[in-house]
Assembly symmetry: none
DNA sequence: TTCAATGCAAAGCTTTTGCATAAAG
DNA sequence: CTTTATGCAAAAGCTTTGCATTGAA
């Protein structure tokens, strides 16, 4: 399902190379441009949507309401269920495997008729270090 | 600094009347239209920006990069805690005020050293209707 | 009378879509 | 050869800006 292309590989590489940092669509295009490559913006959007759908990346709103941020998670569909916490201070991502969150998933389904998509859900907040720094 | 106007008062009233719920710019215009009032969208944006700057309201990103959400805070009083569920099928947003989620907030802080920001956190998934439609 | 606020329309952004062309399998 | 991916440009949202006009003080 889906052909493998040079552009797709390059976009994924770009995200991976950023480690715990997120990138906007323009960040990605700029990074590719620096390597002498040019990829259409529609193509970037289409690949990022796919990566998010597959759980390889997450998408969340950037500061100030501007363009969306994308970040590599390094986990595919077959990885054990977990949620992603992203620190809005340092950008670090925490993979959270926890019984309580499994309970939440079940609770939302049974009591709120809502089927959570863990791959699209990003819990935003501050990690310990960043929270300390601000108080 | 600034004149007091009918439009400004009406917009603030609108937000206040929603209590712990947020509104988009269009929600506000629609509510005013229901009262037989018509306020230009630029005016609504300008007032909301001001209210956010003054700390009277907060702004956060809505679903999938769509319109921003604004919520009355009551000048520093705590906004009543709730999480946002967004259906990726129909785009509808569900406000979830629930004891279990309060527990989650506490749990994340105490066991994962993570301070959740409810306004930036959007739980993505499918609502009942959309889930049924797809199976 | 003065100066800020309004409303409209135009402009700016980000993201999506349609379609002919190129590339993968 | 068939099907998917690409890239361009156009379209589609949301938000901001410019400017003549209205309304507050």
């Amino acid at each position: 399902m889906g052909y493998r292309t040079r552009q797709g590989d390059m976009i994924l590489e770009c995200l991976k190379a950023q480690g715990s940092r997120h990138m906007t669509v323009e960040d990605i295009r700029a990074a590719l441009r620096d390597k002498g490559e040019s990829v259409g913006q529609a193509t970037v959007y289409r690949h990022l949507d796919r990566l998010v759908r597959e759980g390889v990346a997450v998408r969340y709103a950037g500061a100030g309401g501007q363009g969306a941020c994308y970040q590599y998670t390094g986990c595919g569909e077959d990885v054990r269920a977990h949620y992603h916490l992203v620190c809005s201070g340092c950008g670090r991502m925490i993979h959270m495997e926890c019984g309580l969150m499994d309970e939440v998933t079940t609770h939302l389904l049974e009591h709120h008729q809502f089927r959570v998509d863990r791959f699209r859900t990003v819990i935003s907040g501050l990690c310990r270090q960043c929270a300390d720094k601000r108080s």
